[in-house]
Amino acid sequence: MATSEFIEKFVFIFILFAVTLGIAAYATYFERKVAAWFQDRIGPDRAGPFGILQPLADGAKLFVKEDFIPERAEKWLFILGPGIAMFTALMTGSVIPWGKDLDLFGQSIQLQVADVNIGILFIMGFLSIGVYGIMIGGWASNNKYSLYGAIRASSQMISYELAMGICVITIVMLSGSLSLRNIVEEQHGMNWNIFYQPLGFIIFFVCALAETNRAPFDLPECESELIGGYHTEYGSMKMGFYLFAEYVALFTSSAVISVLFFGGYNFPGMDYFSGNTLAILGVLAMFTKTFFFVFVFMWIRWTLPRFRFDQLMHLGWKSLIPISLFNLLITAIIIAIKEGWFH
């Protein structure tokens, strides 16, 4: 790898890291604002104009709080938990293509940290590891509520990862590639996967809600039953990391949804532009879609009550998996007919 390429990647990773963290921080602010709007309130408005300094105030508060480790907790795992949660949440963003190549300083810069040719598998893998952060943290706390939260998180993750994986297989069959960049390139213009896979989108979206532990599937941390679930024993910035990781995961999963089903950086009428204009407009389109899905995630959270655990399992195993298998089968048959296999 040439030095210039190394520097280019380093700068891009740094920018992406900063942007992801910034967006995650402001997602907490927006979550509270959106909640307030849905409930006819104003929301945070004291820190700075319209309360836009609220995330900084929250962060400062979390930093200066007592960093407490329970006496009977497994000390190293207790510290490791939030780290894993944060790490895996941030890693999924690395294979997402944020835009077309940008021409700067006489060389083309790829707006993607790594164009892994099995990008979608990479994301699924890191999503699965993500539950380890919750499991390890919940188990190491040595608290029954935390343990319950951890168990729920892992069983929920296993149940919904299957249906999610099957949806991903249908998308891969449509575009014929595991690379996220190829999947996006396939959906040129308005040729988005959502029009071919509406059912797949709904299932994927429900599974994404479950994977990010968002309402109505926030059973691992439900306050009314588990007093906060897996992060009951956590305080200070360790808890901040868990909360933050949730918002990072929210952002990256919104990005994944827009890449898989809504054409990523493609937008209608993109053939009229070329070069850097197209690349920048593409990035804007990508972020618009992502923010829209972040909003939808919040919208759902402030609309729906939490599922009961047996309903959750019922929905996952008895509804989503058969439906997604059916969807997979239909897609396979249609592709086979189109390819002319039955002549």
Binding site: A36, F38, R41, I42, I202, W299, I300
Partner: protein
């Protein structure tokens, strides 16, 4: 047997229909309801800057009124203290001497008049009992304090000054007194 209230309902545990089982219509309906709330006017009162108006019947800190010539209305009859269910009011009566006519309206007056604001339940029965329209509950809030002793309000805090008269017209037009 027929129920008397006609409000009896048979509890049933119905199986969900297919449309209910797929949840989506209900979820979209719910999301539409929350979406409409996005454009509603919010109900927030930004408290330290905006203060909500008290209802006319609000019962806050008491005031001992003076008449138009600045004489205390209270004649220390003790009816308020008798009426008080919390026994928060105590007083000592004194006879008016010559030369004090500009201070007290009747021949008898309260030389000390104390209300323990920690005992007081702000029921307003003292106001109801008073035959001289001397004591009223106002829309002022009794401030908090670190010391218990500070909550026993004497005449210095209760009797209004002529410079800053306390408006009690809202109380006079409510309840029984309004009909009179």
């Amino acid at each position: 047997m027929e129920s008397l209230s006609n409000r009896k309902q048979v509890v049933s545990k119905k199986e969900m229909t297919f449309m209910e089982k797929i949840y989506l219509p209900a979820i979209l309906g719910g999301m539409w309801i929350t979406f409409k709330h996005l454009f509603r006017k919010n109900n927030t009162t930004k408290y330290p800057e905006e203060v909500r108006e008290f209802a006319p019947v609000y019962r806050g800190q008491h005031v001992l009124k003076r008449d138009e010539q600045g004489r205390e209305n209270c004649t220390a009859c003790g009816l308020c203290a008798v009426a008080c269910p919390a026994e928060a009011i105590t007083m000592v009566a004194e006879e008016r001497v010559k030369g004090e006519e500009h201070l007290y309206r009747e021949e008898k007056y309260a030389s000390t008049y104390e209300i323990n604001m920690l005992r007081c339940i702000f029921c307003g029965l003292c106001e109801e009992a008073c035959p001289k329209e001397a004591i009223f509950l106002t829309d002022r809030i009794v401030p908090s304090n670190f010391e218990r002793g500070e909550f026993i309000y004497g005449k210095d805090q209760l009797v209004e000054t002529m410079e800053e008269r306390i408006d009690i017209t809202k109380r006079q037009h409510t309840g029984k007194r309004g009909k009179k």
